[in-house]
Symmetry: C2
Subunit: 206 residues, 2 copies
């Protein structure tokens, strides 16, 4: 991927999990994660994906999530998001007791304050699903999941997912309301009304 | 599925999640779960499957796990197990610190004694993956996962998976060593040596 980018766009920067940053202050900068969900990949579970993000002046403007086993490709741009070429939208779900909640690993909610929020969200949402990794964000963008809270993320874990979620009508930020791409702790909601309800809970645990 | 079975094999019994038992004491009895992992299915995550088991004199002798999104079909018989027609085997992994450990939901380990075992297994294994449902057992049979502990299972959650695991060289029983199909709490290991190490830990928490 790096060779393709640098041969086509020698001025662009590249940031990724596998290698050192290349020209990260460039106006256009790619943010790559060849395998997000490495541990799922190792365990034979298809909840992994290739993440390709493009930033312009440090803000994500294009995101791709590719799942090769299921042959699912999510693309997000400011003009909208798609799954395998078909437009996708988040769904309305403003009530916590109707929300489908996902987080990859409960150990992400590690401090006592975080555990309190985690148990409250598990108790008050309709159901909780673990182990989704990047694919859960795709399912939030396409209207099957309503809420995700995660922690300990690196920029390449979330960068490409931001345009996919935002292009589908969802909201994704840090737990303190900061830009998601600068936050290790991230909250994503399909419905902006649900985001308004959940963010105050997370701010206290950030 | 029920209509097909009763029209072809009127003497056979059928047990399943969706309907009342039909002739459950028959010599041949089918154990069905049309969608195992219903909550994953609802959340758009492909960690669900159709489970079809056949018992002879109450012992499982044939098991099928079908995942329609990934087009994966696991079949287990006393002569061996297969994935999409190719033979599969569990892998050797006798050491806990090299084992890949899976359980669908940490809330399955609910009592204080169970939580102690769960945290010990998370700490001592190589890595832990959540959310796999029935598919994790398929990955154990095909040598990508080494250890699964689950609880609160119904007979149709595990019946079809037993011939798949045993046909691939693995072991699956209740936490007290009882037959898996009669146990709500189940442990599965790819390597019988690992099973011998883990079973005593679980017996104390059963």
């Amino acid at each position: 991927m790096r060779d393709l980018i640098t041969s086509h766009y020698p001025d662009h920067g590249v940031i990724g999990e596998e290698f050192d940053d290349h020209n990260p202050d460039a106006e256009f900068c790619w943010v790559l994660d060849p395998i997000d969900g490495t541990r799922a990949f190792i365990a034979g579970l298809p909840m992994f994906g290739t993440l390709i993000g493009l930033g312009y002046q440090r803000r994500p403007i294009l995101g791709i999530l590719d799942q090769p086993i299921m042959q699912d490709r999510f693309i997000g741009t400011p003009r909208g998001s798609s799954l395998n070429g078909k437009p996708i939208k988040t769904r309305k779900c403003s009530r916590l007791d109707q929300a489908i909640y996902a987080l990859t690993d409960p150990r992400m909610m590690a401090t006592p304050a975080q555990e309190v929020v985690f148990h409250r969200l598990m108790r008050e949402t309709h159901l909780t699903q673990f182990g989704g990794n990047c694919y859960a964000y795709g399912m939030l963008a396409s209207g099957a999941i309503d809420l995700i809270t995660e922690n300990d993320l690196k920029p390449w874990d979330i960068f490409a997912l931001i345009p996919i979620i935002e292009g589908a009508g969802g909201v994704v930020t840090g737990w303190a309301g900061t830009p998601a791409e600068k936050s290790a702790a991230v909250v994503a909601c399909g419905d902006p009304m649900l985001y308004k309800e959940v963010l105050p809970l997370l701010k206290g645990a950030a």
